[in-house]
Symmetry: C2
Subunit: 199 residues, 2 copies
């Protein structure tokens, strides 16, 4: 691998971690360069613009996310175990040391929801993929007979993500020590409701 590509990768790793703390807007070229011991212009040369940096940060974070959350879950048994593994994986991800500032996607979602542009597009696509992944896992659980036939899997994915967002809020903003217990209880209720036929 070329030297440049290596530092490029190193930059992105640090950038992801930094962005999880200060956000994608708060992520400054100068600050990032200093953290890495590089010059501002030297770092800038790797990206033609700040927007491009933001996009690549989101893409890099997506790669890590897939590797750390999605792939391990794919190793689990099809159906409910995999659905639970995705949830557990996400909880781990949000608590991960790599993301001192909490899930970078949640932070970016609030920043970019009214800021059209490539960064927003990249984020939305990633979130869509993630929601599709959750829905697909639920669909498999239906096929396996773990979840009821008539389950609206997109709704299930949406609800699962809501629980995650609630966890993030309780944990990171409210510093609620019970955050994880609450999230697990909420998710269990969701799974239970998905198992039993419509009442």
């Amino acid at each position: 691998m070329r030297k440049g590509e290596l530092t490029h990768q190193t930059i992105l790793e640090t950038a992801v971690r930094l962005a999880s703390r200060v956000g994608l807007q708060g992520l400054s070229i100068g600050g990032l360069a200093e953290e890495l011991g590089l010059s501002k212009s030297g770092l800038f040369a790797h990206f033609k613009s700040k927007t491009e940096l933001q996009v690549q940060v989101l893409e890099a974070a997506s790669v890590v996310f897939t590797e750390r959350v999605v792939r391990p879950a794919l190793g689990k048994a099809r159906g409910e175990p995999r659905v639970r593994a995705l949830f557990d994986g996400w909880l781990t991800w949000d608590r991960d040391a790599l993301l001192e500032g909490g899930c970078i996607f949640v932070a970016a979602a609030a920043e970019l929801d009214d800021a059209p542009g490539p960064a927003r597009d990249t984020l939305v696509q990633g979130q869509r993929d993630w929601l599709d992944c959750l829905a697909q896992a639920a669909r498999i659980a239906v096929a396996e007979g773990h979840f009821r036939e008539a389950l609206d899997v997109e709704q299930f994915a949406h609800d699962q993500y809501s629980v995650m967002l609630g966890f993030h809020h309780a944990k990171r903003l409210m510093r609620d020590p019970q955050a994880e217990a609450r999230a697990r209880r909420a998710f269990d209720a969701l799974v239970t409701a998905a198992r039993t036929p419509t009442s």
Copy 2:
């Protein structure tokens, strides 16, 4: 009322609207001044610092929130109707024209979750009040016999807020036209589960 206090109020109104779009960090003194046709220093004189401006923006938003969401719900019948009214009120709030950028508290939560200081403290206190309000409404619903005796009302408040966060995400970031329908379905499931005794 003094002339100064009047403009002070006008500034805050505009600031809340602007902050809902660009966030509390993105809210700049200069930009806000221009939007109001004031000079930067003239506006600044009303607040000793930007932090103080942020705090007052959050407080002003809380006042409006209480007036528009909480108070109307207090006019509803005790118990489940009031719980539902709080939820409906929040959906209206999030869609309100006053907040073109979506709920300012959700945006601020992501920005401030790792930024200790007066602004964060103010936000956390406001969110705590809101969650307490939701829990109290649920508690009354238990007392009225609408919800089951053993219901964990704090958990219910937490779950209700999670649904709201999920709605915000689906609506504002994903631009999902079904966002509101999904949120209502999720909330209905929550209420149904709260009604029936533990299964």
